[in-house]
Symmetry: C2
Subunit: 341 residues, 2 copies
């Protein structure tokens, strides 16, 4: 099943079911008004949403309409938890090598996860509004899962069954703020601005055989200013699979329904030698350049730049719809102009 949230002037939007090939949609608000509401009692709502999905795919849904990703908010326009891992340890190792630092061996056994802000997500086609290019604006292409209630002390084995939806992520990062911020010791805050999500949140069965071992075994297509710069495979070199990340998140506390857990930037080791694999964040490209030439050549994003992230199944069908955004300059202190209630 594929779900989307349509903008309607409210903070949480309207829940819609979208057809498998992404062309038709139907409001699901007679079942559950919002995706969070559905997640709050997933065993009750999911079967009803699945039935509507089947009807829509059969071309028999009443009041179906053309689906337009430009009308989409993030599937969860705001959430109660956004925990982002760094499961592709190759990425972490490259970053360290580029600054001549050694990565602790424990990073191969113990996941890195940071707590992100979840109060103000960006829709898939909304602008990324930031104040200064000097912050070092970067994209990060990722996969994320949404879970139901996961109790404290859940094992990786038990965590798998708590994964109810998958999405794509653009974890926008401000590279030039991060070194000083991490040096303070409390983790990311200002270095991670608002995060973007794909138009569609899909149940794992939509990925077929590409979803196994708690990983998505498909390449992520990354286009920066219309040019393909990366197609790393999300199933390759993901050292910690999603169940392992969920177990980490719930070691000392519950994760409640609607929590989002991200993979971290997708990064394939083979890309270090095979340029055709490319990158899912500029920082990684710059690290490879620094290791090779002593300094980076590729600049971070400029105002006006665009970024597209999309994932296709083996038949060439877009699974999550495209994240397609432009970076634009905002005005400090300007009233939050989006929906207000």
């Amino acid at each position: 099943m594929k779900l989307a949230t349509l903008a309607d002037g409210s903070r949480d939007g309207q829940l819609a079911v979208v057809s498998r090939e992404g062309r038709q949609a139907v409001l699901a608000t007679r079942i559950a008004g919002t995706l969070q509401r559905a997640l709050d009692d997933w065993p009750f709502y999911a079967p009803q949403l699945a039935e509507l999905y089947d009807t829509l795919n059969a071309g028999a849904a009443r009041h179906a309409f053309a689906f337009d990703t430009k009308r989409c908010m993030a599937p969860l326009p705001r959430a109660h938890q956004w925990a982002d891992g760094s499961a592709y340890v190759n990425h972490v190792e490259l970053v360290r090598r580029a600054r001549n630092a050694v990565m602790p061996d424990s990073f191969w056994q113990d996941p890195l996860i940071y707590q992100g802000g979840s109060d103000d997500f960006i829709g898939p086609c909304e602008d990324i509004v930031l104040l200064y290019e000097a912050w070092g604006i970067d994209f990060e292409g990722e996969v994320a899962v949404v879970v139901d209630d996961v109790p404290m002390g859940t094992t990786p084995e038990a965590a798998m069954e708590h994964i109810v939806l998958l999405m794509l992520v653009n974890d926008v990062s401000l590279r030039n703020l991060i070194p000083d911020e991490l040096a303070k010791g409390f983790g990311f805050f200002q270095g991670k601005s608002a995060t973007s999500f794909s138009p569609l949140a899909v149940t794992p069965d939509e990925l077929g055989a590409a979803w196994h071992d708690g990983r998505v075994h498909l390449p992520l297509c990354v286009k920066w200013n219309g040019v393909r710069v990366g197609q790393p495979n999300a199933g390759v070199d993901m050292v910690f699979n999603f169940p392992r990340l969920i177990a980490h998140v719930t070691k000392t506390r519950n994760a409640r329904a609607g929590s989002i857990i991200g993979s971290g930037t997708i990064s394939n080791k083979a890309a270090n030698d095979d340029a055709s694999i490319g990158y899912a964040c500029i920082a990684e490209k710059r690290c490879i350049e620094t290791i090779a030439d002593g300094k980076p050549h590729t600049s971070f994003m400029k105002f006006g730049d665009t970024i597209e992230l999309e994932m296709f199944d083996s038949a060439g069908q877009s699974i999550f719809g495209a994240i397609s955004q432009r970076v634009v300059k905002g005005v400090p202190g300007r009233r939050v102009a989006k929906e207000s209630r």
Copy 2:
């Protein structure tokens, strides 16, 4: 005005207005079902809630009932953002001195703030359920503010008007997990288990003259196992006031309505010499012991221990009601037993 959220089996509870002296309550659900709903359109709902508050204080509210903090969830049982500062720099300096580390001078100019988990808050009289005493279970007594929509790039001067409510916090911390976690560089995650809040969220005017300069100028009473161990003044040595913390939070992103921003453990410099001031977290007591004697004497909390946090106005009236909790041992992987829808 004073607001509380009563448990009713739902995830977000029922909004209630509570009388000034904390003895009577009346459901506010005919105005707004939940506190988050009220915060989503505060200019619309706040005047209606204030009117009900006046009626209740005048003894004229229909269907008023005796207020019982044991029925309370956290005012926001789950939120979209919990950002916790470390504004009492004395605390940070003590922690560093105890391990013979130097605190960077920049810590006096640039606030430390970490992103906390906000999906599963603990009610004021609910148990603190954790799995192992060996984690080093500690309380942290704090003050927090709740804001309305705050745009990116808000100045400290402009931030003041965005503060709509105040609460007390017990930011439960797992001290023995923190050193290894912070060494990894991504900040707190497992070291900060679920956070607790006071029964009442109150508007700043309820504090009268004690609320000025963006600080709460009152002592926080801390009782551990029934013994008063601290009464540090929240208005003393708070290097960064709440508007300054909010400006930090919104440097690179908006903070949306209902975001909670905490002060960090209250800590007064004078406590280093005057034991009667005491402490709002055990870690601080242990630091003072370590600096004096080379090692700590006070142990962290045991299962069965209790913790009470409360703040009184100059007339001896409890402002926020008491956080009054017991630490109990949980079972790994046991189904989240609270409300399910």
